[in-house]
């Protein structure tokens, strides 16, 4: 499985913090979407590339809440807490794409709704398909993609104890850009960073409809048969 990396790699050769890649839609989605077959995306694991406003926007676009249960908090994300959460997460992965790609898909009829489910698509294909769009788009295609001129379309983070365990949270991809392998890329990046720190006990809490996605990323039910439990009693005054 060859991997092509375009941009400058910062840091250790095997652990890149910024990377430009291509993702590709599967053939069956071709007709429905106005999006070109392959689009470039920029993956960054640097916290400084996280723009909190954009992130909050992404949360609402993906219909994702920081609180597992609606009774705990409103749908509006608390910015202060979000900043703390990001700064205290060990691994943060952001995926950007060119704004006109994100916009294109928004306008056209979206194939998926709020489903975070993704099949294990091969994002290995590196074939670049030139789309027959306008001159303006072609010019934009030529410009190199980076976090400042790109739009945040995917995100994932994990916190750990730097020794034994880690927990993955807030994994999301813009609904209109799902099923292109972006989510899987994010998860793989997270697990790669964690295993490079010798943390192999990686947990992810997921709703029922997200399970097939995580399964495709290499997650499974606990082999030791443990039960997931969450605190649901309301705080007594």
């Amino acid at each position: 499985m060859t991997e092509m990396v375009f941009a400058v790699c910062v840091g250790n050769a095997s652990l890149v913090s910024m990377e430009l890649r291509w993702v590709r839609r599967s053939k069956c989605d071709d007709a429905a979407s106005a999006l070109p077959r392959s689009i470039p995306i920029f993956i960054s694991t640097l916290k400084k590339d996280v723009n909190l406003e954009e992130l909050r926007h992404l949360y609402s676009r993906c219909d994702h809440s920081c609180h597992r249960f609606s009774k705990n908090g409103s749908g509006i994300v608390d910015m202060k807490k979000l900043r703390t959460a990001i700064s205290r997460s060990d691994v943060v992965v952001s995926v950007f794409c060119k704004p006109h790609h994100a916009v294109l898909v928004e306008e056209s009829a979206s194939v998926n709704d709020d489903d975070a489910e993704e099949e294990s698509l091969s994002s290995d294909s590196r074939k670049q398909n030139k789309d027959e769009s306008s001159l303006g788009d072609m010019f934009q295609d030529v410009l190199p993609l980076n976090p400042t001129n790109g739009q945040l379309v995917g995100f994932g983070r994990a916190y750990s104890d730097y020794g034994l365990t880690a927990s993955v949270h807030d994994l999301m991809v813009l609904p209109s850009l799902q099923r292109m392998g972006i989510g899987k890329l994010i998860v793989n990046r997270i697990t790669r960073l964690l295993t490079s720190r010798d943390i192999y006990d990686i947990a992810a809490l997921c709703f029922e409809h997200e399970r097939p996605f995580f399964k495709a990323c290499g997650f499974a039910d606990d082999r030791m048969g443990s039960t997931t439990m969450m605190f649901t009693k309301s705080l007594e005054a």
Partner: protein, 265 residues
């Protein structure tokens, strides 16, 4: 002396090197109080006085670990200063807490105190012994130490024996008590300090089980987390302790949420 390799190609243990005998100056969780708390909490008998020197050393350690997550991994860069300033204001420091949970007189005239402590010292070797007692598989000590250091909250129970005919608090008595202090329970939680927390490793010495000590440990941990407005508290319970946690307010698979673990092929 356990040496931690610092070359960038190594996978990563935390960059501090650990003293062999006990886990001392860097043992507080990294978000330990940044301010010297001059005995905000009365220190009871049988506990070690928190030395200001240790707190001071940890001040820089916590700032450093707040900035650079992992020295060995060059991909994690330093955060811009403005963000971290605000971060320091936002995150309330976790002050160390210590109080006596239970006190009872034993048959041979000794008084046994069970002391709950949070944010204090844990000897990794003591913990290893405790894990052996409950029958848990052994884990590498360095990883255990790193996990304790970087957990958001670590709560412990110690048992201290002292003779009932104690009068003054001389140095001798302190030393005697330090020798009789035994680790009998622990619970820890990792968190992102804002929304989510996971409780791992809850254990109580089998000799002390069935007395409500485990319940107290978890309850206090949960309460402290809720006070910090951390709403998503999760844990992964073995089948025999599901009821235990249910009684504490936990629900199994709520709203269909399940935990999945990563298994490399």
């Amino acid at each position: 002396m356990i040496l931690i390799p610092t070359s960038s190609s190594s996978s990563s243990y935390s960059c501090c090197s650990l003293p062999q005998a006990s886990f001392s100056s860097n043992s507080y969780p990294s978000n330990q109080s940044l301010f010297l708390s001059k005995s905000a909490y009365p220190i009871r008998h049988g506990s070690r006085k928190l030395k200001t020197l240790r707190l001071r050393a940890n001040f820089w350690e916590s700032i450093r670990s707040g900035f650079v997550k992992n020295n060995n991994n060059t991909t994690q860069l330093v955060e811009p200063p403005s963000t971290t300033e605000e971060e320091d204001e936002d995150t309330e420091p976790l002050l160390p807490v210590e109080f006596t949970l239970v006190e009872r007189t034993l048959q041979d005239g000794f008084i046994e105190e069970i002391i709950f402590s949070s944010g204090g010292e844990i000897d990794v070797y003591d913990l290893q012994t405790l894990c052996d007692k409950v029958g848990w598989p052994r884990r590498p000590l360095t990883k255990l130490a790193a996990a304790l250091k970087n957990s958001y909250m670590v709560a412990t129970l110690h048992s201290v024996l002292k003779p009932s005919s104690s009068s003054s608090e001389g140095d001798n008595e302190q030393q005697q008590q330090q020798q009789n202090k035994k680790l009998i329970g622990m619970a820890r939680a990792t968190s992102d300090h804002a929304f989510n927390a996971t409780i791992w490793d809850v254990l109580v010495d089998p000799e002390y089980q069935g007395q409500g000590l485990g319940k107290a440990l978890v309850e206090k941990l949960v309460r402290a987390l809720l006070q910090r407005d951390i709403g998503n508290i999760s844990l992964f319970a073995d089948s025999q302790v599901v009821d235990f946690y249910q009684n504490l307010g936990f629900e199994a698979d709520p709203e269909g949420i399940k935990g999945m673990f990563w298994y490399p092929k």
